[in-house]
């Protein structure tokens, strides 16, 4: 790839960062949720999947979707240092998306969790996968987390008993940050983290080509 001089100065250096090994979770319905890292080429279709939720004026879907849209766009256009995005798919259909980035070797920054498919705890599984990525794959010591929605706050801050870090300003702004430490992760992962590896090739293949959801429980009567 040939980069011009100005682009080089705006683009953060790409570091060699381990990528998330795919896993599969058997959901309550019996269907597999395949969780894998999104490649840069996956991002345009993710943006398309997120876009309708930008206009959902309830449960803070609008702000979470709008911010994640911008974050993934920034990742796609190489304006974020060491970002990552994990996607969960059911039969190839995008069910849930999580993202974040590495601050440095030891510390991670959680951005957002956006779940389209409701009712099967996909969001909880994906948030747990994100913590797994920071702790077990990137081998970090702590992850900084804030929430925009009430549900997110209760879910993450209370289920994981995150430690308040009022003096640390999270990149998303807002109130002081909370942090997941390795100790908390080890305490709660048996109850909150699931998944089997390696994913059987025929199951993993279902997540190769991402499919846009044709319904959004958040948008009654949605038509693409």
């Amino acid at each position: 790839m040939i980069l011009d001089e100005l682009e080089k100065r705006l683009r953060p250096p790409a570091r060699a960062v381990p990528s998330y090994p795919p896993k599969v979770i058997v959901l309550a319905s019996g269907k597999p949720l395949v969780v894998r890292q999104a490649e840069n080429d996956d991002i345009p279709i993710l943006l398309e999947a997120i876009e309708p939720l930008v206009r959902v004026r309830k449960d803070f879907y609008d702000i979470v979707a709008a911010r994640m849209y911008a974050e993934l766009l920034s990742q796609y256009l190489h304006r974020t240092l060491d970002p990552y995005c994990l996607i969960g798919t059911i039969d190839g259909v995008i069910a849930s998306i999580v993202n974040g980035r590495m601050i440095d070797e030891k510390r991670g920054m959680s951005y957002h969790t956006l779940t389209i498919h409701r009712g099967l705890r996909c969001g909880a599984h994906m948030f747990a996968a994100k913590m797994e990525h920071h702790m077990d794959v990137l081998k970090q010591e702590e992850v900084f987390i804030v929430a925009e929605s009430y549900l997110g706050f209760k879910r993450w801050m209370i289920e994981y008993q995150l430690e308040p870090r009022p003096d640390f300003q999270h990149e998303l702004g807002g109130v002081g940050s909370y942090a997941l430490t390795r100790k908390l992760y080890d305490t709660y992962k048996t109850r909150l983290l699931a998944g089997t590896r390696p994913v059987p090739p025929e199951v993993l293949r279902t997540a190769d080509t991402l499919i846009l959801p044709d319904e959004y429980p958040q948008i009654p009567g949605f038509k693409r």
């Binding site: 209370i158 289920e159 008993q161 709660y188």
Partner: protein
């Protein structure tokens, strides 16, 4: 008239209530004795109140649970409850403070702070393993 000290004292106990007429014991307090129909009057103006008997001490665990979805205002991941029976036959709910509860186990109930509501500290029974 209560003394000033009494007026501001915080009562951290949990009580059973004894009928002053026939001695029947209740928890929580009824407004009439089931056995002798003697009335209870919390205002102590028309009838005397029932006698307060501190509830606690040795008890047996009848059943228990640990809940992971707590009501508004309790910001912790889980809380365990048990139903216990005291030797005097009185039963109550308590917060389990033991690591591995077992139905039928002998426990020690002590009154303590169990919940902080807006403007109200709630004292209730906490259930411990019996001290050796």
């Amino acid at each position: 008239m209560p003394t000033t000290t009494e007026l501001y004292a915080v009562d951290r106990n949990v009580y059973a209530f004894r009928c002053p007429e026939c001695g029947a014991l209740y928890y929580p307090a009824p407004m009439v004795c089931r056995k002798c129909r003697n009335r209870r009057d919390p205002s102590v103006t028309v009838y005397p109140d029932f006698e307060k008997v501190p509830l606690g001490g040795p008890c047996r665990l009848l059943t228990w649970t640990r809940i992971y979805a707590l009501p508004e205002g309790i910001d912790r991941p889980s809380l365990a409850f048990g139903v216990v029976e005291f030797t005097n036959g009185i039963r109550a709910v308590g917060v389990l403070m033991t690591e591995k509860p077992k139905t039928g186990a002998l426990l020690d109930a002590r009154a303590g702070l169990v919940r902080e509501l807006v403007g109200r500290d709630c004292y209730g029974l906490q259930l411990f393993d019996p001290s050796p």
